[in-house]
Amino acid sequence: MTGFLVRRFASVVFVLWAMTVVVFAIVHVLPGSVAHMILGEYATNEAIADLELRLGLNDPLYLQYWRWFTGLLQGDFGNSLTMDRPAAPLILEALGRSAILASISIVLVAIIGIGLGIHSATHVGSWSDRALTLMQYFFIAVPEFFWCILVIIFFAVWLGWLPATGYSPIAEAGLLGWAKHLILPVSTLVLGLIAHVSRLVRSSMLEAIESRYVLAARAKGLPERLVLRRHALPNALLPAITVLAVDVGILMGGIVVVESVFAFPGLGRMLIYAIENQDIPLMMGGMIVITAVYAIANLVADILYAVLNPRIRVSGSAG
């Protein structure tokens, strides 16, 4: 177990370091001058030369990389070019708000997705199972940004129940005002993911129900509910952990889209802002932070899986 933890942790560190190289390389090695990009196409040569000097863009690339990398390690992400402030606090603040969206969403996805999946699997062929299966087709395929538009039209424009955009902290708007701004973004984020998780739980639960150990448990004369809860469920839930980790990645993509539609001041919207305005330090920092969060989520999922796995003893016949 310790060996596994050390190996897994080392690979996370490696991935993060490699990400700094990839992000740096894409920004600096691709054709096009960074100063030119920042100043736009009508910049004078002097202005470009001046900015290049100020940003240290004339130094050799390895030196620029080293400066940026050692800065990252010390929590210094450089200065935001458009806001002329250190990027790190900006990124952290935005990350905090995105974390609210993400954590509420992933908890909802886990509870509702697993719940619906178990329901479908234990009621195969019933009308509710068929309705859920049909809805999954639909929800998996509808793009998040279109959901955003639909819920805004329905709940904000027609019914006027909820605010279409923005965010207000609890301290200012109170719990209700805070929650009102979260309902639409969270619901658009979770719909597709719930469909995804419930579908996978349904199929792994079905597989467990048809397995020999469940047959054995039934043959022992255990009541059906106990068979499902003690024997089928733990085995069926193990794959759900992996799926939820994958979904954290999809969720992060979704957050970029959803935050920019709902004008929610989180990390995703900041990233789009940084790209639109060619705010390179902000963009690079945001990318690194998001990758780090995703890597940590995957690490947690792997550890959970390893911790739960030996106790449960997965059946030998895979697939």
């Binding site: 992000v23 920004v27 395929a141 940004f145 279109f146 993509g253 990233l271 990318m287």
Partner: protein, 274 residues
């Protein structure tokens, strides 16, 4: 030939119909998709303008028709790119083993550890946006998944007797990969490709929606939905029309992908997404 499920027929018909409409678009569109008509701004759907008009008086139906080929190109083009790069990498990794495999697979691990939308953003962030750059970016995002799948398939096949026989005949690596492995690897690869197209269309249109795809006045569906946002309360049809078409296309492509999977490779049931 095995029984072809009804869903596959329905999905296939819808996808084919959309492809035909996309190709015929320029000839059957009732209006010029880019022609401004200031007098008929924001008109609701009617007999003349089936999907209404937008803020410049452009006919939304003609624009949706003109935009269809973008989504199709993104889906099929990007998937083709990921196939063309990913499959050879996967086959080579499986065949060569050793440090070649190690290098390729560590690269794959690295790319997979970046959430797809962000990888797309990263590739598109530093260059001027455009349709073909978006297609390329989406294609690159899905290269690692193709590499993984084709490596796994090839590893299974390499243990088969017919590969052993080819080796015993003294055939070279190229022959074994192209003539022995590839023809036998196609069913799972086609399934993966078909499922991938849905996500390529989703990702491509999301990137366009974020402004990193085709640029105005082009009529890509994701872009049209993004542009409709200021008029969401007075003229919801501007965004609803391309959005519903996109959903129809995505659901149909997904149904085809899953139908193919059930037909060709029932063991993969329950996988997907991502």
């Amino acid at each position: 030939m095995r029984h072809i499920p009804r869903t596959l027929w329905v999905g296939g018909t819808i996808v084919t119909a959309i492809c035909i409409l996309a190709v015929l678009g320029p000839w059957i569109a009732p209006f010029d998709p880019d022609a401004f008509a200031v007098r008929s701004r924001l008109e609701p759907p009617s007999a003349t303008h089936w999907f209404g008009t937008d803020e410049f008086g452009r006919d939304v139906f003609s624009r949706v028709l003109a935009g269809a080929h973008h989504s199709l190109l993104m889906g099929f083009g990007a998937t083709l790119i990921s196939l063309v790069i990913g499959v050879p990498l996967g086959l080579i990794a499986a065949f060569r083993r050793g440090w070649t495999e190690e290098t390729i697979m560590r690269g794959v691990d690295l790319m997979i550890s970046i959430p797809p939308v962000l990888l797309g953003l990263l590739i598109l962030a530093v260059s001027d946006p455009g349709l073909f750059k978006t297609i390329l970016a989406v294609g690159l995002v899905y290269v690692p998944i193709m590499t993984r799948v084709s490596r796994a398939v090839a590893l299974d096949l390499l243990a088969e007797d017919f590969v052993e026989a080819a080796r015993a005949r003294g055939e070279g690596g190229y022959h074994i990969l192209v003539r022995e492995i590839l023809p036998n690897a196609w069913p799972p690869l086609i399934v993966e490709t078909a499922l991938r197209i849905t996500f390529a269309i989703l990702l491509g249109s999301a990137l366009s929606f974020l402004g990193l795809g085709p640029q105005p006045p082009d009529s890509e569906w994701g872009l049209m939905i993004a542009e409709s946002r200021p008029f969401i309360s007075e003229a919801p049809w501007i965004g609803l029309a391309p959005g519903l078409c996109l959903c129809l296309l995505l659901i149909a492509v997904n149904v085809v992908g899953e139908g193919l999977r059930d037909l060709l490779d029932p063991r993969l049931r329950g996988r997907g997404h991502g």
